[in-house]
Amino acid sequence: MNTVGAALRELLGLFVDDGALAAEILAVVMLAAAAAALVPDVPLAAGAILLLGCLGVLMASVARAARRR
């Protein structure tokens, strides 16, 4: 049972380490999904939001960690 619990915790830990980073990534994905639904004629708008949003979220997360040091 312990092993199953450890495996499940490990599985969750694969995707969520810094909670804020995970939440921001999901927010970017939702924003991109909203853009894809609202402006279906310009599908690259959703792509741009996704790509630039992820890059921005990554930089912001590193900057936060560096400031907390």
Binding site: V16, L21, L26, A36, L58, A65
Partner: protein, 250 residues
């Protein structure tokens, strides 16, 4: 042929490099078990872990065929973003000196010390505990390998090349480990994690976009462009995060 490799190459490379890192981590624990209690419990645990992994793959693998492609791409893309950007962030912070580098020699020493402490406490059950430690290491690191193979391979029906890349990495690490009988402390683990984080994040953006209906310019080749952008952003982040410490030095 070149077009085929442009299609398959990033998938095989990502699966190979990511599996290399996971296999090195699993090997460290299996070797620690073998050092404290011998090869029998270490091998038994590892084989049992591989068996459970095979059952998971055999049980869940065929279900992937029933998931609609766009939904599969979106789910895999989001999980890859969470997984890859987590790796990349950690690799950036380690490269910038904000958090300590992962040290396989230190991990080996810690695992060996913990097993020796268990010798003192539970001498009679030790073989069982040693087998369990080896089993857990192979199962948990193996789950990551399985996820990576599915994540980079399933979206375009490239599970076989992705599995081949992962298998090659695992066999390579196992071969080296059994030949030298020491943890592979000289593997540039953070550089590998950086590279894998970059690739998985690029795959994540690509698959999430595909799942949302984005027709990326250049189709699969867009992944290479995304990887270049994540690499530049990562290197830039390392240099920015390092700066305050350098300025603080006399």
């Amino acid at each position: 042929m070149i077009a085929d490799w442009a299609h398959i190459g990033p998938v095989v490379t990502a699966a190979f490099l990511a599996s290399l890192v996971e296999a090195v981590e699993a090997l460290t624990i299996v070797l620690a078990v073998a050092t404290v209690r011998g090869w029998r419990p270490a091998a038994l645990g590892a084989i049992a872990g591989l068996g459970v992994l095979a059952l998971i793959v055999a049980g869940l693998g065929p279900l992937l065929g029933y998931v609609p492609l766009h939904l599969l791409q979106l789910a895999i893309g989001v999980l890859l973003l969470l997984f890859g950007m987590r790796w990349l962030r950690k690799a950036i912070l380690r490269a910038a000196g904000i958090i300590a580098l992962h040290d396989e020699a230190k991990a080996f020493a810690a695992e060996t010390a913990e097993l020796r402490e268990q010798v003192a406490r539970h001498a009679a059950r030790l073989d069982w505990l040693a087998t369990l430690a080896s089993f857990k290491a192979v199962l948990l690191e193996g789950l990551e390998v399985v996820f990576i193979v599915i994540a980079v391979g399933a979206g375009r029906g490239l599970l076989v090349p992705a599995s081949a890349g992962a298998l090659a990495a695992c066999l390579l690490v196992a071969g080296f480990g059994f030949a030298v009988h020491r943890p592979l402390a000289r593997v540039p683990e953070n550089a590998l994690k950086f590279a894998v984080g970059v690739m998985l994040s690029a795959f994540g953006v690509f698959w999430t976009g595909e799942g949302l209906g984005v027709a990326w310019p250049g189709a699969d080749l867009a992944i290479v462009g995304f990887a270049a952008l994540f690499l530049l952003a990562g290197l830039g982040a390392v240099s920015v995060a390092r700066r305050p410490r350098a300025e603080a030095l006399p």
